[in-house]
């Protein structure tokens, strides 16, 4: 339970964090103060309207930025990009000068996987995100959904315990988005990875999260912190979405998100 995080070492620990952009008169407090502890293996979704600082929080956890005050710990240490967490961004951010396989290969190289092992791992990682026979393609020759799958495969290459996702499906069409949500739910369930997922979609939050955290409008603070007790396996996506608990959660969280946004 969020209120009792000391049972096991938290995968992510955000302690009294505040983040301010700019200085002097132009200073804008984007976030906090906020405290959040993420248990290993959980799937935490941060929901909120745009401008609530949810992406800022993710960037702090990824180590791209340092908090103005407070402390962020990932696996007990101060986060550094490329050490401890895989990151998936809203845009796939693939390297167009590399083939699809080349993109994953690069990630494996950075992760220190020796060259002879890489070809096998590339196939395995792409297969895990549902891609086959695309390793030799150019990145612009595959669809947007496939590109985002490659980005996920690339983020999984590091074998980090933590996966950070910043609205990864926001730019995709509805059908592709649902497919990727389902596959992500399965992949993270199989690999037992801790996930922190940022979205503005209530439906996405309920479907993916084992815990949903609603943030208020700027500066982002926790408005609601809810464990989602929906079955994580053994239930198909359509049946899951049809459960009455699912609808109830959607209503509660949706209301909270609207209230937190303050009528914006």
């Amino acid at each position: 339970m969020p209120s009792n995080p000391d049972v096991v070492l938290a995968a992510v620990d955000v302690h009294e964090v505040e983040h301010v952009y700019g200085t002097g008169r132009d200073a804008v407090t984007a976030l906090g103060p906020i405290s959040l502890s993420v248990r290993p293996g959980s799937f935490v979704v941060l929901v909120g309207a745009s401008g609530c600082g949810k992406s800022t929080l993710l960037r702090l956890i990824a180590g791209f930025e340092r908090p103005t005050s407070g402390a962020v710990r990932v696996g007990g240490r101060e986060p550094v990009p490329g050490a401890g967490a895989g990151v998936v961004f809203q845009q796939p951010r693939l390297f167009p000068w590399k083939t699809v396989g080349g993109n994953v290969d690069l990630a494996l190289r950075y992760a220190g996987v020796p060259k002879p092992e890489r070809p096998g791992r590339i196939g395995e990682l792409l297969g895990r995100v549902g891609l086959h026979d695309v390793a030799g393609r150019r990145t612009w020759q595959i669809s947007g959904g496939q590109q985002q799958r490659v980005a996920i495969a690339r983020a999984l290459a590091g074998d980090d315990d933590l996966l950070l996702l910043d609205e990864p499906f926001a730019a995709l069409d509805a059908l592709t988005r649902e497919r990727l949500q389902e596959d992500l739910r399965q992949v993270t369930g199989e690999t037992g990875r801790t996930c922190v997922f940022v979205t503005h979609s209530v439906d996405e939050a309920v479907f993916l999260g084992s815990r949903v955290v609603v943030l208020t409008h700027r500066p982002g603070r926790i408005a609601l912190d809810l464990d989602v007790d929906l079955p994580r396996s053994g239930v198909g996506p359509d049946r899951l979405r049809a459960l009455p608990e699912y609808a109830a959660l959607r209503t509660v969280i949706g209301q909270e998100v609207r209230e937190a946004a303050g009528g914006r």
Binding site: F64, P81, L106, Y110, R137, G158
Partner: protein, 287 residues
């Protein structure tokens, strides 16, 4: 050359609609294009012939036929004379091309390194940018005098001249491309565990490659236009030296022949560079 695999000729079946190779002309329209170009060339020669006939002064406008026979003369040994000034036309051209090649390669190499440093270290950029722009604005002939004083009249000052001419466009293009590396891709690489060096090698440089290549094409063009200047002093053998000598003796047909040789080889080299560009940088304009 890590980026060559698969080249431009990507299997047409996997290329999405509208995704054919850049600057490609539909195959069935190609013959027509060639025909149009040949027609334009024929018209040009006709106008030239007309000008030669009406002026009736071969020292002013030599006829196409006179230039053609100079091509034969400068390419053969006749009356015991080997080509022009003891060298065949191809030898003159070859020596000049060699100078252009060495100058372009040196200028590109130094320009590349300088550009990367300028693009990554802000204070070096502040210091070197005015210098590079200054050198860029100078006509090559202006600093050639200085190079002659420093390095004599043999090969060294010529290579220096071409190197200095080729360096600025590559440096400027590289610096701006490196400086403007997309933050999104740099972050993505860092998130995957790339070190600073990895980021430069795997993201910043490949991303800059299209712009660098444009810089190289400019550099080769500048080296090309500077070679005639470089060969104004002790330039034989060399196509520029040949043209200059011919001008002294009012051999206008040889002058025109030399100009044609320079222009045509320049066209061929630019075409080769463009082909190389399409092969090496298939991702140009995609991202």
């Amino acid at each position: 050359m890590i980026y060559t695999q698969s080249g431009t000729a990507v299997e047409p079946s996997v290329v999405p609609v509208g995704g054919s190779a850049p600057a490609g002309v539909p195959a069935k329209r190609r013959p027509r294009r060639i025909l149009v170009r040949l027609g334009a060339l024929a018209a040009l020669v006709a106008v030239w012939q007309l000008a030669a006939v009406t002026t009736r002064n071969p020292s002013f406008v030599p006829s196409p036929k006179a230039v053609w026979s100079q091509l034969i003369l400068t390419s053969t040994t006749h009356d015991g004379v080997r080509g022009y000034s003891g060298h065949y036309l191809v030898e003159h051209l070859g020596i000049s091309l060699r100078r252009i090649l060495i100058g372009s390669v040196l200028g590109t190499a130094v320009g590349l390194i300088l550009g990367v440093v300028m693009g990554t270290v802000p204070w070096i950029r502040v210091v070197t940018e005015p210098v590079v722009t200054f050198v860029r604005a100078l006509p090559p002939l202006a600093y050639f005098s200085l190079l002659i004083i420093w390095f004599g009249i043999d090969e060294t000052p010529k290579l220096w001249l071409l190197t200095i001419a080729a360096l600025p466009p590559v440096a400027v293009a590289t610096a701006s491309a490196v400086y403007g590396a997309p933050i999104g891709l740099v972050e993505a690489a860092r998130a995957l565990g790339a070190t600073r060096r990895d980021v430069i090698r795997d993201v910043v440089l490949p991303n800059a490659l299209p712009e660098i290549f444009t810089g190289v094409r400019l550099a080769v063009g500048l080296a090309y236009s500077s070679v005639v200047a470089a060969e104004t002093i002790n330039g034989v053998p060399g196509i520029g030296g040949m043209v200059r000598d011919a001008q002294r003796y009012l051999q206008t047909d040889v002058v025109v022949l030399g100009l044609l040789a320079i222009g045509l080889s320049g066209l061929l080299i630019d075409a080769a560079l463009r082909t190389a560009e399409n092969r090496l940088i298939p991702w140009r304009g995609r991202s």
